[in-house]
Symmetry: C2
Subunit: 200 residues, 2 copies
């Protein structure tokens, strides 16, 4: 299987539109997050003022350094999201002839479902970090690129919210209550952070 | 220049991240809209119930027929958005040595700026239409794909709002008050339609 970043946009759209369950919303969210991150990176290359104040340049350089790893990380998460779904399907197909089979199958399903929450949670984390850096970019980047920053933040927010919805849906099948509770808490905290960023 | 749909996702991200002004937010919004539309198309292939009620199948088929042209249309708009920006830059570079030059340059700039509002407005229209179909897909599509529909609607809303912001920013440079007023009215009406769709 090719990595999603190797597909042409046309192939990606065809893959999303096909009735196969993967790639689905989790993968689309991660790729949209990578697009938003990349747009923010563009604006870090455009200082606000003609005289390029040192403080502005330093703030944008710091934001750029924080953003740079997030775009490839989100593309890795796009692949991992599809893999996690396929792992769940594979676990459900395990044999259940004997009691040992059944116990092993249940453990495999639980482990796979856990992966299916951890991947989109990592997507939420990456998007929230990009949004935090986007605030710096909005403050110090060139105002002629304000609409690019706006599009970037909108895509990142949609990506984070979409990935968070995937976390929550996939949590419902898990039995480990401590993990469920911790994951739900972190998801809620991350979504609240986005709401804060957006209301500024 | 290649069409954006011919680029790999990796090349697209690199183009967005480069300090060149294009591709910018308008192109990213259109591509995100195409991704959202494609995800909705996936769900039109998954009927809600196992017995595939005729009414459900018919509703999903109608939504599918309406969605199918929107994804390639949005990819064409992704290209057109970058072209429209480049046309504005080219118009600003026209000679202004004589009064005739200056008048011709002003006309060219106004025509190009108008194109730079018409393209993102068309993106908003396409996304709003996709969101309207997405409501049908949410109602009649398989509930196991509910999070895919949620991601799709989030991406389409972000794409529409981002494109609308581009319409408004680009309108500020135009002198044709009747066109400005009509375009602003339609933009506001389309954004209100999205808010309605989302609050349901």
């Amino acid at each position: 299987m090719k990595r999603f970043e190797e597909l042409t946009v046309s192939q990606l759209l065809a893959a999303l539109a096909s009735p196969d369950p993967t790639p689905g919303g989790g993968t689309a969210a991660a790729i949209a997050g990578a697009m938003g991150t990349s747009l923010l990176l563009m604006v870090t290359g455009l200082a606000k003022s003609r005289n390029n104040l040192d403080a502005e340049k330093a703030a944008l350089a710091t934001a750029r350094a924080a953003l740079e790893p997030l775009s490839p990380a989100l593309m890795t998460l796009a692949d991992a999201d599809t893999q996690a779904f396929n792992d769940v399907m594979a676990a459900y197909r395990l044999p259940k002839a004997t009691d040992d089979d059944k116990a092993a199958r249940t453990r495999a399903i639980q482990a796979a479902l856990r992966g299916e929450t951890e991947v989109p949670l990592e997507t939420v984390r990456a998007c929230v970090e990009a949004i935090a850096q986007g605030r710096v970019v909005a403050d110090y980047g060139n105002q002629s690129a304000a609409s690019d920053v706006g599009v970037a933040l909108g895509l990142l927010k949609a990506a984070a919210e979409g990935a968070a919805a995937n976390v929550r849906i996939n949590l419902t099948g898990l039995k480990d209550e401590a993990f469920k509770s911790a994951t739900e808490s972190e998801t809620a905290r991350l979504l609240a952070a986005i709401a804060d960023q957006h209301s500024r």
